[in-house]
C-alpha cells in the first residue's frame, strides 16, 4: 500500500496556478527528492499535502486515510527561514516542541520528554549545544535542531523543505546519514532538493516537478537528461556529460 497517494491535485498561490493536476504515489521505505526550478510549486506541494495551504481540487491520502487522522504519523521540517531565530529560546527547547503532542495539551513536559529530546540532539551531533540560544547557532546547526525536532515525533513519513540549503559539508553529511538511518528503519522521506549534482548519490527516488509532475520513479529510470531538461525548460547546462 502506498504511504502517500495524490490524485489530480490543483492549487494556486496568489492567483497563479502553481500545482496543475499533480498525481503520484509514494512507496514505503523510499527516499524521494522533489526537484524542479524555482516557482515549480515544490514548497507549495508540501504545504498543500500538510493542509497548511488550501487545495482547489484533488485528493490526498496518507496510509490509506486522511491527513487529519494520520497527523501523528507525519513529520515536517519547514524551511529554516520560515521562523524567527531571534525568538528567545534554546536548542533543547525547540526540539522539545516536537514532543508537545506526546506531552499533551496544557500539560508540562516531564523528564522523559527532556531525555528524548536530548537523545535526538545527540543523534544530530548537537548535544553540546543543547542550552545554546537559537539565535547564536550557525545556519547548519539551526537546520540540525529543526531536524531533531521532527525526529522526536517518531513519524513514519517525513517531509523536509530544503534541509540541505545553505548548510556546510559536515551538516550535509550528518543530515544525509540521518535520512539513510530513517530509510533503513523503514520510514519514508520526501525532501525538497535543489542540488542536481547530488540527487543520484543521495536519493533512490525522484519527483521532477514543474507545476505538474514531469516524471516520477526510481532515480535510475527517471533522472535522465531529457526529463531534467523538460522539468527546467532548457537553459540548463548538463554537467554530468560523459
Amino acid at each position: 500500500m502506498a504511504v502517500l497517494s495524490v490524485q489530480g491535485l490543483n492549487a494556486s498561490y496568489r492567483r497563479n496556478k502553481v500545482l496543475d493536476e499533480v498525481s503520484f504515489e509514494v512507496q514505503p521505505g523510499s527516499l524521494t527528492s522533489i526537484v524542479g526550478p524555482n516557482g515549480a510549486g515544490k514548497s507549495t506541494l508540501l504545504k498543500v499535502l500538510l493542509e497548511l495551504h488550501p487545495k482547489l481540487s484533488g485528493s490526498v491520502s496518507f496510509f490509506g486515510s486522511t491527513f487529519g487522522r494520520m497527523k501523528t504519523r507525519v513529520g515536517y521540517v519547514p524551511q529554516r527561514g520560515s521562523v524567527d531565530w531571534d525568538f528567545p529560546t534554546h536548542a533543547l527547547d525547540v526540539v522539545m516542541m516536537g514532543l508537545y503532542g506526546h506531552v499533551g495539551w496544557l500539560k508540562w513536559p516531564k523528564r522523559c520528554h527532556r531525555e528524548k529530546a536530548m537523545a535526538a540532539l545527540e543523534q544530530m551531533g548537537m548535544a553540546d549545544y543543547a542550552g545554546r540560544q537559537i539565535s547564536q547557532l550557525s545556519g547548519g546547526q539551526q537546520q540540525r535542531v529543526f531536524l531533531a525536532r521532527t525526529l522526536v515525533q517518531d513519524a513514519d513519513l517525513y517531509f523536509m523543505d530544503e534541509p540541505l540549503a545553505g548548510v556546510d559539508a559536515a551538516t550535509e553529511q550528518a543530515i544525509m546519514a540521518t535520512l539513510n538511518e530513517l530509510k533503513t528503519a523503514g520510514k519514508t522521506v520526501m525532501v525538497v532538493h535543489h542540488d542536481l549534482q547530488t540527487v543520484e548519490d543521495y536519493f533512490d527516488h525522484v519527483l521532477l516537478l514543474n507545476r505538474t509532475v514531469v516524471a516520477h520513479g526510481s532515480t535510475e529510470d527517471v533522472f535522465t537528461k531529457e526529463n531534467v531538461y523538460r522539468a527546467y525548460g532548457g537553459g540548463l547546462r548538463w554537467v554530468r556529460e560523459g
Binding site: K71, F87, G98
Partner: protein, 305 residues
C-alpha cells in the same frame, strides 16, 4: 501622599499593578506575533463602543462600558482582517485606516454625548487619557477579575503560546488549531485593552502593551523570563504612574504610566544584561583587546630585535 493611604487609593493602585502585569504578559505575545501596532489600533477602536454603551444605558456602569469597548475593538479587528484579505492593502495601512476612522468616530460621538446633561458630568473624557482615580471599588473588582483571567490564560497555555508564536505551521502539524489560538489571542488582547482604557486611556493603552515587552527583551534569552520581566515592568509602571498622578488633582493617569514605563525601557536599553548597549560595548571592547594583545606582543618582539 496622604491620598495613597486611603483605602480607595490602595485599591486603585492594586488594580493598575495587576493591569500592568496582565498587559505586560499579553504584550509579549503581541511582540512575537509582530502585532504591537495592532494593539494600538484596537485600543483606539474601542472608543466608539465606550461612548455608545454609555449613551445606551445613561450611566458609567463599567461592565457594560467594557462590553461596548470590546465589541467596538473586535469590529475594528475584523475590519482590519477584512481589508487585508479582500484588497491589496497591507496590514499596516489597514490598521492606520481603522485606528483613525474609529478614533475620529469616537471623538465625534463623545462631543455629542457631552452636550447632553448626563454626559457632561459623566467623566467619559477620562477614557481618552485615563483617570484611574475615578474608579470605584466595583470597577476595581471587575478589572482585577478580568486581569487575573488574562494572566491565567497565558500561564496555563504557556507551552502552547511558545510553540504558536515560534512556529505556527509546525504547531498545526502537531494538531494544534491555529484558528483557536488566534481566537484566544485576540480575545485576551481585546480583554486587556478594554479593562485598561479606564485607567490608562485609549490613546496610550498600547504603550502598556508594547513598552514592557520590549524592555524585557533586553534582559533575557528565555521566553518564560521575558514574560515574567515584562509583567514586572508593566506592573511597576502601572503602580508608579498611578502614584505620581495622584499628586495633582485631576492629573490623567495614562501619560504618567507611559513615562514610568519609558523610564524602565531606557534603563533596559542601556543596562540590559543581554542586549543592552553597555553590555554590548563592553563585549566589543574585550574582544578588541583580545585581538590586539598578541599583536602588541609581536610588535614588542620586533622592536626588541
Amino acid at each position: 501622599m496622604t491620598l495613597l493611604l486611603s483605602p480607595n487609593a490602595q485599591w486603585v493602585l492594586l488594580s493598575t499593578l495587576i493591569l500592568g502585569m496582565a498587559s505586560g504578559m499579553i504584550g509579549c505575545l503581541a511582540y512575537w506575533k509582530r502585532q504591537s501596532l495592532m494593539s494600538d489600533a484596537l485600543s483606539h477602536a474601542a472608543l466608539p463602543g465606550v461612548v455608545i454603551a454609555f449613551a445606551l444605558i445613561g450611566t458609567k456602569f463599567l461592565p457594560v462600558i467594557i462590553a461596548g469597548a470590546a465589541v467596538s475593538a473586535l469590529i475594528g479587528a475584523l475590519l482590519i482582517q477584512w481589508i487585508r484579505s479582500s484588497s491589496r492593502i497591507k496590514e499596516d495601512t489597514a490598521m492606520g485606516i481603522i485606528l483613525s476612522v474609529f478614533f475620529g468616530l469616537g471623538i465625534m460621538l463623545l462631543t455629542i454625548v457631552n452636550r447632553t446633561a448626563s454626559g457632561n458630568q459623566s467623566g467619559l473624557d477620562g477614557f481618552i487619557f485615563g483617570q484611574a482615580a475615578s474608579m470605584t471599588r466595583q470597577d476595581v473588582y471587575v478589572m482585577l477579575f478580568l486581569a487575573l483571567i488574562v494572566m491565567l490564560v497565558v500561564f496555563i497555555a504557556f507551552k502552547e503560546w511558545k510553540l504558536f508564536l515560534f512556529d505556527a505551521d509546525f504547531a498545526k502539524g502537531l494538531g494544534m488549531s491555529n484558528r483557536l489560538m488566534n481566537g484566544v489571542y485576540l480575545a485576551v488582547l481585546v480583554l486587556v485593552i478594554v479593562i485598561g482604557i479606564q485607567a490608562v486611556g485609549v490613546i496610550l493603552m498600547a504603550a502598556l502593551l508594547i513598552i514592557p515587552a520590549v524592555s524585557a527583551r533586553y534582559w533575557t534569552h528565555s521566553f518564560k523570563w521575558m514574560i515574567i520581566l515584562s509583567a514586572l515592568f508593566g506592573g511597576g509602571a502601572g503602580m508608579l504612574g498611578t502614584m505620581i498622578s495622584t499628586l495633582g488633582k485631576g492629573w490623567p493617569t495614562g501619560p504618567f504610566i507611559v513615562v514610568a514605563s519609558s523610564a524602565f525601557f531606557i534603563f533596559s536599553l542601556l543596562f540590559g544584561a543581554q542586549k543592552g548597549l553597555l553590555i554590548k560595548a563592553l563585549q566589543l571592547r574585550t574582544q578588541k583587546k583580545q585581538l590586539i594583545r598578541p599583536w602588541n606582543a609581536q610588535v614588542k618582539l620586533e622592536k626588541g630585535d
